[in-house]
């Protein structure tokens, strides 16, 4: 028998169950009688009505079945994928956390990790300044005195960090560009900070009061400091001096 013959027969065989001769002879009445017999046995031998499963029970059941059906090697791959996907989902969820919430610490930690991965100090300073802006948004979104204070404290910290990071940069062109951007941001944040200062907040047992405290003052000082142009030490300073004196021509 050749492969061609084999294939022809197997193809034809798939049609056999549809032939009238091979059609199931299970009469619907007989089928119902058999079903009634089986289900009566089930009820006599401990059959119980369906229970509504909780989310946790359903999840546990699904995980058990998946673990049973999936080959072990594949299961490790799946677990790794779930870990990576899960951490991504966690990070996305943590991004929405506000001061005082459980995941707020995780959000800050993720941002700090993000900043550490930026190798260029000038760029890192820009990122830190960007994060400081998020603290102002948080201060706007929260209501209690405690939450606003926490956001403002972190804002000052981010701004100071941006200033310190920029000091580590060595390329004058990059420093200049970053400084310009940071100064613009500082001006923008100054306006937002003033709005936050006027924001009425709730405090336990006290009616809504505006935020006026040392944290706000500290934040304003940090902004002023960061907006000041940084002193740039360049290698060609001496050359500039010489050019002024006309000692070196082109």
């Amino acid at each position: 028998m050749t492969t061609k013959e084999y294939k022809a027969i197997t193809q034809a065989l798939k049609k056999v169950p549809h032939s009238p001769q091979w059609q199931s002879t299970l009469d619907p009445e007989v089928a119902e009688r058999m079903r009634a017999r089986v289900m009566a046995f089930v009820m006599e031998h401990g059959g119980q009505p369906s229970k509504q499963l909780s989310f946790i029970q359903k999840l546990r059941m699904n995980l058990n079945i998946t673990a049973r059906l999936v080959p072990q090697g594949f299961a490790y791959g799946l677990a790794l994928f779930a870990l990576l996907f899960g951490s991504g989902a966690f990070a996305a969820y943590a991004q929405r956390a506000l001061p005082g919430q459980t995941l707020y610490g995780a959000k800050i930690a993720l941002e700090q990790t993000h900043a550490r991965f930026v190798s260029n100090p000038a760029d890192r300073a820009r990122v830190q300044m960007e994060f400081a802006g998020r603290r102002l948004e948080e201060a706007k979104a929260v209501e209690s005195q405690e939450q606003v204070t926490e956001a403002i404290k972190r804002f000052s910290k981010d701004v100071k960090q941006a200033k310190e990071t920029l000091k580590q940069a060595s390329d004058p062109v990059q420093i200049k560009a970053a400084q310009q951007e940071i100064t613009e941001k500082a001006q923008e944040y100054e306006v937002k900070l003033a709005e936050t200062r006027m924001k009425p907040v709730r405090e336990v047992g006290v009616a809504a009061i505006p935020v006026v405290d040392k944290e706000m003052q500290e934040a304003e000082d940090a902004l002023k400091e960061v907006a000041e142009p940084q002193k740039i030490d360049t290698d060609n300073t001496e050359e500039d001096e010489l050019l002024k004196d006309g000692e070196v021509g082109l």
Partner: protein, 196 residues
């Protein structure tokens, strides 16, 4: 996916003796098992009786916490059906003849030049004629042909049901197809003579 759904229902039955979950499983497999038994048993009453027994035993198996977990319900049910039929025949003093698998390479034959005739014949034949040929092949081959081509089970499932290796299962399927071809030989000669 089918197996995953089965497993969910099996788990519900095993965990809380959920009769509604069992009813779903029963509806899903009643006809399939009944049809499979048609290959193996002649009397309708025996088919109905054994078919019901298989599901009663399934219930007892599932609610018994000491039993091993079922990884593939479909294979489990066909295997139960096969065992139930073997027990039925054994009780009647009839032992099914085992299939010899001494020479697994036996099926590698050279073409006798009739493949075109066979293909034409298969195309021209009605399904009923082919069905009649299938009913003439030995029972052990018919069972495996039914599982593979009618019930569309995977080779590994058939191997699990029949208790054979995957290699032996492939050999048996091939031999089943080969015996079908042998039964069709007279028809092929007739076909050739008619010069169609």
């Amino acid at each position: 996916m089918q197996n995953f759904e089965d497993q969910l229902l099996v788990q519900q039955v095993a965990d809380s003796k959920d009769h509604a979950a069992f009813a779903v499983l029963y509806s899903r497999y009643q006809k399939k098992i009944h049809d499979f038994l048609l290959f193996k048993l002649a009397r309708k009453e025996d088919i109905e009786d054994i078919s019901s027994q298989i599901f009663l035993k399934l219930w007892e198996y599932l609610i018994d916490g000491n039993k091993r977990q079922i990884h593939n319900l479909r294979a489990f049910l066909y295997k139960s059906a096969r065992n139930a039929v073997a027990n039925f025949y054994r009780a009647q003093g009839h032992m099914p003849k085992p299939v010899e698998l001494d020479d697994p390479d036996e099926y590698l034959e050279i073409s006798d030049g009739r493949e075109d005739t066979l293909i034409k014949l298969l195309k021209s034949q009605s399904i009923d004629e082919l069905t009649a040929c299938v009913q003439q092949i030995p029972e052990s081959y018919r069972e495996i042909i039914a599982l593979r081509f009618f019930e569309e089970l995977e080779i590994n499932e058939i191997a699990e049901i029949t208790g054979k290796t995957i290699g032996n299962t492939n050999v048996l399927i091939h031999r089943g197809v080969q015996s079908l071809r042998k039964i069709m030989l007279p028809k092929m000669e007739q076909y050739d003579n008619q010069g169609i």
